[in-house]
Each structure stands twice: as structure tokens, then as C-alpha cells.
Amino acid sequence: MTLRVTLFSTCLVDLFQPNVGIATVELLEKLGCEIDFPPAQICCGQPAYNSGYLHEAKPAMIHLLETFQHAEYIVTPSGSCALMLKEYEHVFQDDPKWHAIAKQVASKTYELTQFIVHVLGVTKIDTSLSGTAVFHTSCHMTRLLGAKEEPKLLLNNVENLTIQPLTGQSQCCGFGGTFSVKMGDISAEMVKEKVEHIKQVSPDYLIGADCGCLMNIGGRLSREQQTIEVLHIAEVLNQGMEG
């Protein structure tokens, strides 16, 4: 049976990383899903919410709830945005109408690798990428959403790819949404240390599952004129077989 997946591409993917969205669509289709992309979707509201602007974030949240309420599965290539969608349930605790919808939406929302492993039951995808890589475990995705093992499982099964250990792997890269500009000086020091650790390994690829972190670390790698290629896990898994 074909699963109908409603894709939440996230605003970062829409504006800055369309290639990640494209890889997500192609990957899910290869895995037998049918993709639905409601064009009304915009942003999960996290930039405002995490800065303390609940009042300003709510319209964005309601807009997404309206957009996604009838979906069967909501899949997003971002642990952080998936977490935010699940957070709506708490935000609308005292609002019976939206709380009920938020609860439904939360139960149907999956980060991409969680969806592949737990709903599709797939842990090995026929794909190959030659070289070495380090994986950046995003904080929201691993600590708060709890998607720790899924990306590792999928990456370990990519042919010809060696995932190497990274010092301070679980340490935040310093993105933190608006933190990166509100506390730019601290954020800079955090990402510099992250990049130092990556350079120690000197891998071919830096792989992550959240575009925010990848933009941050990638931005620093680019500033330091490093040739390490930054890839979203969807892009890795959508490589196909080499040769």
C-alpha cells in the first residue's frame, strides 16, 4: 500500500536549500510514498516562539495546523521543526479547539529518518557515497525529539561511506535560531570550536539532519575556505548506487 506523505519542507529548505527538499521528495518516492505538498505551508513559528514572542508565533502555528490537519503523515527533513510541530500541543493547552488539532498533528508528525526507520521499517537504503564523513547530531533532534539512533543506522548502511567519530559530537554548534544573531559573538565561538573539531578529522563530508545547524557550520567552513562538503542526510540517502 502506498503511504501518502504530506511534506513540510520548512522555510529554510524552501528559501535556502531547495536541493534538500528535492532529495527528500525523490527519496520518499523511491521508498514507495506518494508526496503531497500543500503550498499554503510557511514556517513553524520557531524563530518567534523561541525568542519569547508567543503572540507573534501563534498565527504561524495556527496557519500550519490548518494546512496540515487532514494529513495522514507529516514528514519534515528537520528534527528541530518536527519538534516545534509537536510543541504546539503544549502551546495550545488552554485552547480546546486548536489543542485537539495540535494533538492530532503532533501524533502524525515525523522527522524524516524517524519516518523511514519506524513507519516505513527501512534501515538500509540502496545508496552509495565514497569517502569519509562526520555526522553532526543536532541538539533538538537528538536530545529533545529523541531521534538519536535512526540517522546513524541509516548512514552506517550507506555503501562505501565511513562515518568517523567527532570530538564533542553532541555539543551544540551554536546555531540556536535567533541566538545566532542575538548572541552573535558567543555563537561565533561555538561554531569555531565545532569546525576545529571537524577539521581534526578532516572528512570528505559533514552530514547533518537539520538545515539550521548545517547552514551555521557550513557558513563557518566556507569562511575558513574548507573543502569539506556539507550534505543533508536526505541528500546522502538519495544518492543512489554509484557506477
Binding site: C11, V13, D14, L15, F16, Q17, P18, V20, G21, I22, V25, F37, P39, I42, C43, P47, A48, N50, S51, G52, Y53, L54, H55, E56, K58, P59, A60, I62, H63, C139, H140, R143, L144, S170, Q171, C172, G174, F175, G176, G177, F179, S180, V181, K182, M183, G184, D185, I186, S187, E189, M190, V191, K192, E193, M215, N216, G219, R220, S222, R223
Partner: protein, 476 residues
């Protein structure tokens, strides 16, 4: 307010600390070392998550029933011969302690480590009436010698100092002539402090836990100085934050097991001291008079609010030891004796938002603090609650930010605005950037990003455009 340790705006403090390479190296290597030790110690214990749950339950239960346990503790302590005094704030607490010092004609005072006495500014108060107050915890002693450099960590107060710096302080203040070898430094401090213990009229301690069922005071230390503070002077004063109780000894067992492991990665510290009342007739040492000063100083205001869980804190410092922000800015940048995630939550509650409104934003909300907390305080959620309060009820957010967020709220819920706006942004940035792939010197807020990182340019063909085109082709 003694809670505050540095003046000047947050950004200024930050710039100063970020340039302090010495401190930053000291803090990051301490974090790494403590992290390894913590993981080993918690693994050895096994079922760490269950221990955390047990700790959370004990502390939540205690805080939920704080009035009851305070009454029980006070009754039992009094029964055992201690004098219990409830101080509503720093002034009441320090006045009471000053009165005792005056009554006892105490000139020389030894102290063991205590954060709450820092919070109420006790040393300065006692010095103002002519007492000599000597800190006997090695870290605190170093800081006191170094012209009262404030602590930068709740457990390891001199974490920001290198041994060479400590040697310099000893050379200047103690006529020390030996090397920067920690053992030699400690030996010298011990030698100097031994004299101070022997001549002290009054001993002052903090309190890790008060045991309600017996009125006992529990002190968890590594250096043995608290034992000397509580055995040699004839009078002892113990100062305790009002929330630092556990109901029973059985609960204490759980809490100490959590505290030493979460804090410094030890299965147990060298000394765990339990004191019930002053010296009994048949006992050979201990104080003849014991006072327990229970300090409120803003804590009871937190009860029943969204922030109540912060009162579960046992001051283990584990959240400081994992915080990636604390790692780079150190304790002093927070401007409070309570730094790190716990400090960023607690300080504005105890001392108001006015001087501390940046603290809740000094976090990426990465959740490392919440994950490590041995009593499961949702620290990152409490930081977020502070942000909401600062923006929505306190109205302390900058106007430019408020306007930007208003625009965000509108744009992120109105399709025509988002679609049109994002298209326009891509086009205008493209022109501005002369077709470069990324921005290396952005204007306004973007500058905060591009100071250290390149920023990608928005793509002229957004993901949604690709999707639309694809749907179109499919339907053809």
C-alpha cells in the same frame, strides 16, 4: 545586591570574557574532564535515569510541601538544641549573624564553602563590624586572597584560574616561595589555614541538605575544612537556603548519591558530614552553640509560579559543566554568583529582570542542561518561559526586535506576503551580491552572522517553485 558580581552591560562583560583565553581554556578542559568522570560514575551506579526520577520526585515532593518540612526541620533542630532563625531576606540574615558575632565578641571567623552566604553578602557584612572572615575551602580561599575575585562556578569556584595565576596570588599575599605545583600550593594553604582554624571564635557553614525528620545538617565536601569549621570554634552558624530540605535519611541517601556523581563524578566525596544539634555533654568536639539561619531572600516568591521547578536545584553545577555557552563565556560574564543555565533561570527570579534580562537569551536551548540535571529540572524550558515573560509581560524586548517579530508573525501566516516577500528578497539580494553564492559581509542583524560565517543567498527558484513546476509537468 551581593548576588551581582560584575557591573556594566552584558555585551561588555561578554567581550571581556571572550578575550580571556586563559579562562576559556581552563573552563573547557574542566568541562571535558568533569564530563568523562560524570559518565563513568553514573554508569557505575547503573539505572541513572531511575535515580534521576527518584531525585526529581523527592525534590518535587519537598518543594510542594515546603512549609510542612520547614516546620518539621525547625522543630527537630530546636529539639536537638539548635537555634533556628528564619530570615526573610539578606538584611535580616546578615543582621542576625552580625548580632551573634557581636554577642560572642567574635573577631575571627572561619567559613566553609557556601553559595547562599555569597548571595546574602555575609562576608562584607561581618567585615563591616570588624571581624576577620577567612574562607577555608581552597577555591574560595584563593579567590578571597585574590582581592575577592568572585566565584565563577557553584561547586568549583576558582575554575577560571590556572595554577600559575594561583601561585602569583600566593606569592603576593602569603609570601609563598615555591612552585605552581598544585600539591605544594595546597600544602601551603593548609598550613596557613590550620592556624586560622585554631584561633577561630566562630565557624560558618552552608548546607547541602537539611534533613527534616531529624533536624540534621548535611555537608558534602572533599577537603575536610567543613569538619574543622564545625568542630573547633565554640559557636557554629549554618546558613541554608529555605528549599534545601529532604524529608528523611532515606531520601538523603538518594540525593547524596546523585549530587556527588552529577557534580564532580565521584561515587562519594571524601567527607559527608551529618550534624544534629550542638555538642552533647558526652561528646568531645563540636560547637557549644549552633544556629541555623534559613534564608528566603526571594525563594518563596517562586513557589506556585511557572518557575517553581528551579527550587528543586541541589547546586551540583552539572548544568554548568555541560553548557556550551558557559564553556565559552565562563561564569563571570553572567554577572551573578549563580552562573550557567541554573543561574540564568534563578538570577532574574531572585533579583529581577532589569539587570539580568539578557541571561535567558544566553542559551541556544540545546537542552544539554535539562538532559544532565540530576533532579530533572527542565532548565531550557524555564529559560524559554523567561523569554516569554520578558517579551510579553515585562515589555523589556528591544523595539526593533518587536517590530521584526510582528512582521514575522504576519509573514509566516499570510501566504501572499510570504510568497511575494521571499521572491523579492531573493531577487534583491542577488542584485546586491552581484550573483555571489554567499554573503560574507551582511548588513544589520545579518552582520552578527557574517562576522564569523558566510550566509547563503536565498535561491531564486525556491523549493515550492520546483514542486509547482513538477506538479505541472505531471499533470500535463
Amino acid at each position: 545586591m551581593p548576588l551581582k558580581i560584575k557591573s556594566g552591560p552584558f555585551k561588555q562583560r561578554l567581550a571581556f570574557e571572550l578575550n580571556n583565553d586563559f579562562m576559556r581554556k581552563a573552563v573547557s578542559s574542566a568541562q571535558d574532564g568533569l564530563g568523562v568522570r560524570r559518565d563513568i560514575a553514573t554508569d557505575q551506579l547503573g539505572e541513572w535515569e531511575k535515580w534521576r526520577e527518584a531525585g526529581q520526585e523527592i525534590r518535587q515532593h519537598t518543594v510542594n510541601n515546603l512549609a510542612h518540612y520547614l516546620e518539621q526541620f525547625s522543630e527537630q533542630a530546636t529539639k536537638s538544641g539548635a537555634h533556628v532563625f528564619f530570615a526573610k531576606d539578606d538584611v535580616e540574615a546578615t543582621n542576625y549573624i552580625k548580632q551573634i558575632a557581636e554577642r560572642k565578641n567574635a573577631k575571627k571567623i572561619v567559613k566553609s564553602k557556601s553559595m547562599v552566604t555569597e548571595e546574602i553578602g555575609l562576608n562584607a557584612a561581618l567585615e563591616s563590624i570588624g571581624c576577620e572572615v577567612v574562607e577555608t575551602d581552597l577555591g574560595e580561599y584563593i579567590l578571597q586572597l585574590d582581592d575577592h575575585d568572585p566565584p565563577s562556578h557553584v561547586v568549583v569556584p576558582a575554575l577560571h584560574k590556572k595554577k600559575e595565576q594561583i601561585r602569583d596570588v600566593f606569592v603576593e599575599k602569603l609570601n609563598y616561595k615555591k612552585s605552581a605545583d598544585p600539591e605544594e600550593l595546597a600544602k601551603h594553604a593548609r598550613y596557613t589555614l590550620r592556624e586560622k582554624f585554631l584561633e577561630a571564635d566562630l565557624g560558618i557553614t552552608g548546607c547541602n541538605f537539611g534533613v527534616a525528620e531529624s533536624g540534621s545538617i548535611c555537608l558534602v565536601t572533599n577537603e575536610g575544612n567543613a569538619r574543622l569549621v564545625t568542630t573547633i570554634p565554640k559557636t557554629q552558624i549554618t546558613v541554608m537556603g529555605m528549599e534545601r530540605l529532604v524529608p528523611t535519611f532515606e531520601d538523603l541517601d538518594v540525593m547524596v548519591s546523585l549530587l556527588t556523581r552529577a557534580s564532580v563524578g565521584q561515587r562519594i566525596t571524601s567527607y559527608v558530614t551529618l550534624l544534629t544539634g550542638p555538642k552533647k555533654q558526652e561528646e568531645v568536639d563540636g560547637p557549644e552553640e549552633l544556629h541555623v539561619v534559613i534564608v528566603d531572600n526571594g525563594r518563596s516568591k517562586i513557589l506556585g509560579t511557572d518557575f517553581q521547578e528551579i527550587l528543586q536545584c541541589i547546586r551540583c553545577g552539572a548544568c554548568l559543566n555541560v553548557c556550551p555557552v558557559y564553556r565559552h563565556i565562563g561564569g563571570h560574564a553572567y554577572g551573578s554568583i549563580y552562573p550557567g543555565p541554573v543561574g540564568a533561570v534563578l538570577t532574574p527570579l531572585l533579583d529581577g529582570y532589569e539587570d539580568h534580562k539578557e541571561l535567558p537569551y544566553a542559551s541556544t536551548l540545546c537542552g544539554a542542561c535539562t538532559d544532565v540535571c540530576p533532579v530533572k529540572i527542565p532548565l531550557h524550558s524555564l529559560l524559554l518561559k523567561h523569554r516569554q515573560k520578558i517579551v510579553e509581560t515585562e515589555g523589556k524586548a528591544p523595539i526593533s526586535e518587536r517590530l521584526m517579530m510582528k512582521a514575522f508573525g504576519f509573514g509566516a501566516s499570510t501566504n501572499s506576503v510570504y510568497t511575494g516577500g521571499s521572491k523579492m528578497a531573493a531577487v534583491s539580494l542577488k542584485i546586491l551580491l552581484k550573483n555571489k553564492q554567499s554573503i560574507s559581509n551582511g548588513p544589520g542583524l545579518l552582520k552578527e552572522w557574517t562576522n564569523s560565517r558566510d550566509f547563503p543567498t536565498p535561491k531564486q527558484s525556491r523549493f515550492r517553485d520546483w514542486m509547482k513546476e513538477r506538479e505541472g509537468t505531471k499533470n500535463d
